[in-house]
């Protein structure tokens, strides 16, 4: 087993990995950018190394600096988390070349699955169903021809992409040119490649993915599905397991396909096979494989009863995964909500600022994976994920109730968050029925606006100025001429 691991990430996932290491008795090294000097993951790690400027290319995407930091601190392995370098085969190879262990699959598996076009060809060969479409096209003309053949709407996406970046839905031919350009640019900026593929865009489709896990000795199983259909801008905001759509038979079929897909690239460690599911005809298609730990891994951990991050580390160190498929059953129902610093009323534009107040929910079977605390700054350099709120209950209805209660206990001030929006989704009839497809949010909440300001809220805000600032009513009157007198910066509390 390793004695020291470097975590090449930030935010909640870095903290999640640090916790797993501590429980296994492994020392941790955090890396950080100049924007993250006071970040929680830096405080929690045993030691930390400054990589460079805030821009990801200077810090969390800089493979050379990260490997040098591992060498310098004597770490034996690197956990990449998700995003950043986690699905970069060159990085995985460079880590191994530096005589360090990459906690994840082999560079060859990442490379094989990393290219959406090549992986699709490989999956077809392995007998895994795939979405109708084309790979290997170059010119706009070729794409135009392909789109016409497939029929609009189509999806163009970066072959090297993931996480909804470098991806555009094209509803009609006039949008194709702009979409190709934008997807190419985002692909180049985020993944260093502008190769695109094109496929049929499935309307009313569900996104159902399967967790797979294996060791280096060929033992590989699946850990059931995650339904991730509540999305905005192609990014998930609510995930749950089990999916209400799957019958035991479908679950078994999809699980087998997921294992076959992973085995086709000799996969080991944690991975996720994403399927598009068409509920009208109960058909599923391989979408892509995420060759890393997934943001929403906690719901699988709760329902399957396993610590995926600890097992990632253990199998990376060469341990055998001692469980067989039949050792796992799905126990109860788990839901995850992603709390983002973003404004649902402006098309989910990210919101930046300092967290003036940040209070998390707590209670039985409530888990919060977070990277922030009061005083933390949310910057525009990184993903605006504040926290993941995860609940586990006996059945779906109880899990929804638990989630709604937990969400209402959250307080996050200083940035606009999607908490109220998540509540709206959770109490929606379509969500209760499990009918939410991947376009449901944009179709139903396009003109969503935050609730109006209540009289109670105004009374509370007025009184807070008096109560917390220790201002007398006389000086509060004079406050009218000086409306910019924030009481959180005064320290003369008089309560």
């Amino acid at each position: 087993m390793f004695s020291k691991i470097l975590i090449a990430n930030r935010g909640e996932i870095a903290i999640r990995i640090i916790r797993a290491c501590r429980e296994l008795g492994i020392k941790t090294v955090a890396v950080y950018s100049s924007a993250d000097q006071n970040a929680l993951h830096v405080q929690l790690a045993d030691e930390s190394v400054l990589l460079g400027d805030a821009a990801p290319r200077e810090s969390y995407l800089n493979a050379e600096k990260i490997i040098a930091a591992a060498k310098q601190t004597g770490a034996q392995a690197i956990h990449p988390g998700y995003g950043f370098l986690s699905e970069n085969a060159d990085f995985a190879r460079a880590v191994e070349s530096a005589a360090l262990v990459f906690i994840g699959p082999s560079a060859a598996s990442i490379r094989a699955m990393g290219d959406k076009a090549e992986s699709k060809i490989m999956m077809k060969a392995a007998g895994v169903p795939t979405v109708p479409g084309f790979e290997g096209l170059q010119s706009e003309d070729e794409f135009r021809k392909a789109a016409n053949e497939i029929g609009y709407p189509v999806l163009v996406k970066a072959a090297a992409g993931g996480g909804g970046k470098g991806m555009r839905v094209v509803n009609e031919e006039s949008e194709l040119s702009d979409a190709l350009e934008a997807a190419r640019r985002e692909g180049l900026n985020s993944f260093g490649s502008d190769v695109l593929l094109i496929e049929k865009y499935l309307d009313k489709a569900h996104h159902i993915e399967f967790q797979v896990f294996g060791d280096k000795y060929g033992n590989l199983i699946h850990l059931f599905e995650r339904e991730c259909s509540v999305q905005r801008r192609h990014q998930k905001i609510i995930e749950e397991t089990p999916s209400v759509l799957l019958t035991p038979q479908l679950r078994e079929e999809m699980g087998k396909a997921a294992v076959a897909a992973a085995k086709a690239v000799n996969y080991y460690n944690a991975g996720t096979i994403e399927f598009i599911f068409d509920p009208k005809i109960s058909a599923f298609y391989f979408l892509e494989m995420n060759t890393r730990l997934q943001v929403e891994h906690p719901i699988t951990e709760l329902v399957a009863g396993i610590d995926l991050v600890q097992w990632q580390i253990r199998v990376a160190a060469g341990e055998r995964f001692p469980f067989a498929q039949d050792d796992f059953t799905q126990r109860g129902h788990a839901i995850e909500c992603r709390l983002y610093a973003e404004d649902p009323s402006t098309g989910f534009l990210p919101s930046t600022g300092v967290l003036l107040q940040y209070l998390e929910a707590a209670g039985p079977n409530i888990r919060v994976d977070s990277g922030f605390s009061t005083g933390s700054e949310v910057t525009h350099f990184y993903d605006p994920l504040l926290a993941k709120l995860i609940v586990h209950a006996e059945d779906r209805a109880s899990a929804i109730r638990k989630m709604r209660t937990a969400l209402s206990d959250f307080v996050a001030h200083g940035v606009v968050t999607n908490i109220d929006f998540l509540q709206e989704v959770l109490k929606h009839e379509s969500f209760a029925k499990g009918e939410v497809s991947t376009r449901w949010v944009e179709e139903n909440f396009g003109a969503w606006g935050a609730a109006g300001v209540s009289t109670d809220a105004m009374i509370a805000a007025s009184l807070a100025d008096v109560v917390f600032a220790g201002a007398t009513l006389q000086s509060a009157v004079s406050n009218e001429t000086d409306p910019f007198n924030p009481w959180n910066q005064t320290h003369n509390f008089r309560l």
Partner: protein
């Protein structure tokens, strides 16, 4: 004590052990039952109803969470304010970020809806598009430049 939030005004005055709030001409009795400065928590009695609120302040902004719902209020002197997306023909940055590309130059004629420049923030691409047909009269940013929220990027005149 009169306070104006955005476009709404209310008056709160001390009365006995509590306060009287005047809302839309009606008097509402308010008492502060408990308050904790560290978490910004206040337990209030408003017309006999128990209400728990968390309040934070940043300059003129007040954030209030009640029953799990959060609103942001801005203390104003009564003037109307809102989120601006254009400023006298100038297009402003909707959020802080970096200018990725500039598609036009001063003097170019542009059509409504045409992409003038693109920004990137949090790995998301944002297109700044012309709100009307016209000519580019000023370009205040260049490729690669970091911009602040509401900074004027480009100006288009009819």
């Amino acid at each position: 004590m009169k306070t104006t939030f955005d476009t709404h005004s209310l008056e709160v005055n001390p009365s006995g052990a509590g306060y009287i709030a005047v809302v839309d001409g009606k008097n509402v009795r308010v008492q502060v039952l408990r308050a904790d400065a560290k978490t910004g928590m206040m337990e209030l009695s408003i017309d006999g109803r128990r209400v728990v609120a968390h309040v934070s302040a940043d300059k003129a902004k007040r954030w209030v969470t009640m029953n799990g719902q959060t609103v942001m209020l801005t203390k104003t002197s009564g003037a109307k304010r809102g989120v601006r997306h254009d400023h006298a023909g100038g297009l402003i940055a909707p959020m802080p970020g970096q200018v990725r590309s500039v598609a036009v130059k001063v003097g170019d004629l542009v059509k409504k809806g045409q992409t003038l420049l693109t920004m990137e923030a949090m790995k998301m691409e944002i297109r700044i598009q012309a709100l009307k047909d016209g000519a580019v009269t000023a370009l205040h940013v260049q490729q690669g430049q970091t911009v602040e929220r509401e900074q004027i990027l480009i100006e288009v005149e009819e």
